[in-house]
């Protein structure tokens, strides 16, 4: 006997059916697959059957260790100095490769190191590239979320006026959103070009040639920043529209009341506009965060993760491994890790921005 819930909702189920089936097919099923595959050694192209490997993929990605070394001393016990005058330390690779005394460090690489007292501690990772990808993605999210959200709000306030031709400005700000991200990335590759790029020419012109040419995407110090800037510019229009829709739901009577009470511009914003945008703000913040974690196309088109891993990101690594290196299980593992990260951050954001009663 069909339950009342199913029966009386027949029309509802019929209407939700197509969407639910599609979501199940293309979102939920692949996701369940990814979780299962991350515990196997499944390959994209292989005659070998997949085997269950437990947490091996996770260990390989997240494995870390520390190694504290004393500087090299000569026979007299004096610390040897390297060419740049700093104390010389034994090569980390002599501990991580073919060293029977340190089997647990085999295959690890130095991620970074710091000095304390007379010795230096090396942080080793089993997968330095993935660690770098994690770090870069977090930097990207931390910079992009406030910058893009704030800029979008500023633009929304600017275009939320009754001016002649305001639609023109709205269209201009929104245009980059409509253009494919791949096309935008290609264009910005030309803008950032180290030799004859538009940005270098522009900076050269306004500084009367004093500004040296910078290879924006070819320099590990500027590559991630260049991609952040371009990404903010590209998607800011989308969030501007969301802010704008929030602004237009605020009742004009509130502003009229504020004006009668003699509220200043700042007071109007602080006590009328901002509280009215609460829900919009939560939405914008969460959407930007999730989109920023999914950073891929810009990297794929503009840098391919280089130079020197300065623009590796989590999703780029997932694709690179899953398809480029035919390691579907490795790619799936990265996806699952990303899912856990995004889910926890979204829940924290939800909790921080909850309605306080």
């Amino acid at each position: 006997m069909a339950s009342k819930f199913l029966k009386s909702n027949r029309t509802g189920w019929l209407m939700a059916g197509p969407a639910a089936a599609l979501i199940g097919c293309f979102v939920i099923l692949p996701f369940v697959f990814a979780i299962i595959l991350s515990f196997t050694n499944q390959r994209l192209v292989s005659p070998n059957a997949a085997e269950f490997t437990g947490l091996a993929n996770y260990r390989q990605l997240l494995g870390m260790a520390t190694l504290t070394l004393d500087p090299v001393k000569d026979e007299a016990g004096v610390v040897k100095l390297a060419a740049d005058g700093t104390p010389e330390y034994p090569a980390v690779r002599s501990f991580t490769r073919n060293n029977p005394d340190h089997p647990d460090l085999a295959g690890m690489r130095e991620w970074f190191s710091f000095d304390h007292g007379d010795s230096r501690t090396f942080i080793l990772a089993r997968d330095v590239v993935f660690m770098q990808a994690l770090l870069n993605t977090f930097i990207f999210v931390l910079v992009v979320a406030p910058l893009q959200g704030g800029l979008a709000l500023g633009l929304a306030l600017l275009i939320n006026q009754r001016l002649r031709g305001i639609n023109l400005f709205r269209a201009i700000y929104f245009m980059p959103v409509v253009v494919s991200i791949v096309v935008v990335s290609l264009l910005w590759r030309f803008i950032y070009d180290g030799q004859s790029g538009l940005l270098n020419n522009l900076l050269g012109a306004i500084s009367f040639g004093a500004m040296p040419k910078v290879d924006w995407l070819g320099n590990p110090n500027t590559a991630l920043g260049a991609i952040i800037l371009m990404s903010v510019w590209q998607a800011v229009g989308f969030h501007m529209v969301i802010w704008l829709s929030g602004l237009q739901t605020i009742s004009p009577t509130l502003y009229e009341a504020g004006a009668i009470e003699g509220a200043s511009k700042w007071q109007t914003f602080r006590y009328i506009t901002w509280p009215g945008l609460r829900n919009t703000a939560v939405l914008v913040l969460i959407v930007i965060t999730m989109q920023a974690f999914a950073l891929f196309a810009q990297i794929d088109v503009m840098t391919g993760g280089g130079p020197l891993d300065s623009t590796q990101t989590i999703v780029f690594q997932a694709v690179e491994r899953g398809y480029g290196k035919q390691d579907i299980s490795g790619g799936s593992t990265i996806s699952v890790i990303l899912f856990v990260i995004v889910l926890s951050i979204s829940m924290i954001q939800r909790w921080l921005t909850r309605e306080r009663t």
Partner: protein, 418 residues
């Protein structure tokens, strides 16, 4: 109802018609060259000729854009939907053969005796794929540059040594006329790196993977010779001989614009270089100690494992191996025909032809990329290692990391069937 009978009648009639008119079995074929009109014309001509030449088989072609081709084959294989005949990039073939996508060709080996080694795709001792053409890389420069810098013209018998090559770059740098002495094509990321640069490593005495066993890269990719290569490679960029990041436009037009004295480039770009300067010359690869080496193997034809008609598919491939078709392809694409007799039939590769020198280079110096299913991964690892070293990463550590990644991958795949 009346409608239905009409349609059914038409269907019946058409079936009857096709069976009567042509008792040919259809062979499906996939090709990577969608959008390339010249290639399509030659291939369609071969198919038309083949279909008309006999009564048993009929080949039907489906073309894919190159960028989507490999993914299409992988997807097709997973779905059990591969065609009878497919084409495959030479170094990828062992991966597909090992994965069970392809089966050996049924072709009389005598028919390919005169072929260059690169176009012949062997895996496990069996011929899986055969190409109608090959590609080669040369050091492109101008006779006037050689004269002005007072450099000896290297030959296949006496290529430049590593020292002579560096002396040539020094001379070009000292002349102050060029943005960079050498254009390596760093803008062409992807397969260009292993194709064009791993022969340089091999010329130093290293390799991407140990070819005696194909089970490890230890000692070949991080041994003494490889580290020497890595130091040299890093020096090219650190000392201003070449640029680590290159504008793609400079790769395409930089040599013609006089930005570079030497350009490491393939024969497909050779006609353009000749058009830019009358005195363009193509020099053989330098010898860094272990012999001059260049890459080999381009796109080749093979048969899918699931094909029910490998005999017919083999017949078609054998039919396509005629000299006239090899010459047609070479004339259209500028690539090197796979046989000497076909080369003699082409404008560019006949004796004294403007590109004939490339035939000699591929004959003398060609070395295929590692013949292993693991090459797909090894190529990616190698590319990243070279890009990182070019950008200043520590040479020995980077090569060690590459070796670790390659070895872990080989182990994860149960030795890739070697």
């Amino acid at each position: 109802m009346k409608h239905f009978t009409l349609a059914a009648g038409a269907l019946l009639a058409s079936v009857a018609f096709t069976t009567v008119a042509q008792a040919q079995t259809t062979l499906s074929m996939w090709y990577h060259g969608a959008g390339n009109e010249g290639e399509a014309k030659v291939l369609n001509q071969i198919i038309t000729d083949f279909n008309a030449s006999q009564a048993d088989w009929k080949v039907e072609l489906q073309s894919f854009p190159q960028a989507a081709y490999n993914d299409s084959v992988t997807a097709g294989a997973l779905a059990g939907n591969l065609p009878d005949i497919l084409d495959v990039d030479g170094p990828i073939m062992p991966n597909w053969a090992w994965a069970g996508y392809m089966q050996p060709l049924q072709i009389d080996e005598a028919k390919i005796a005169g072929f260059l080694p690169g176009p012949k795709g062997y895996w496990g001792g069996k011929l899986y794929s055969i190409g109608l053409w090959d590609a080669a890389v040369a050091l492109v420069t101008r006779q006037s540059i050689l004269d002005e810098l007072k450099l000896r013209t290297p030959t296949l018998d006496q290529p430049w040594t590593g020292e002579e090559f560096m002396a040539a770059l020094d001379a070009a740098k000292a002349s102050g006329k060029y943005e960079f002495p050498l254009d390596l094509g760093m803008a062409w990321t992807g397969e260009w790196y292993p194709y064009a640069f791993s022969p340089l490593l091999q010329s130093f005495g290293g390799d991407i993977v140990d070819r005696t066993t194909y089970k490890t890269a230890e000692g070949t990719l991080n041994g003494e010779a490889a580290v020497k290569f890595g130091d040299w490679w890093q020096g090219l960029f650190k000392n201003g001989y070449a640029q680590a990041t290159q504008d793609p436009a400079d790769r395409d037009g930089g040599f013609a614009a006089g930005k570079y004295a030497f350009s490491w480039n393939g024969n497909w770009a050779a006609l353009g270089a000749l058009a830019a300067f009358d005195d363009t010359v193509f020099l053989p690869a330098p010898d860094f100690g272990a012999g001059a080496k260049i890459g080999a193997a381009s796109w080749q034809f093979g048969i899918s494992a699931k094909s029910a008609h490998p005999d017919g598919a083999s017949k078609f491939i054998e039919f396509a191996l005629q000299d006239k078709y090899l010459a047609d392809f070479a004339n259209t694409t500028g690539l090197i025909p796979a046989t000497k007799t076909a080369a003699a039939m082409t404008e560019n590769y006949k004796d004294g032809g403007p590109l004939a020198v490339f035939y000699g280079m591929t004959e003398a110096n060609a070395l295929v990329r590692p013949v292993s299913p693991g090459y797909v991964v090894q190529a990616k690892v190698f590319e990243k290692a070279l890009a990182d070293i070019a950008n200043g990463a520590a040479v020995a550590d980077t090569l060690d990391a590459a070796v670790d990644e390659i070895n872990a991958d080989i182990e994860k795949n149960g030795g890739y069937g070697h």
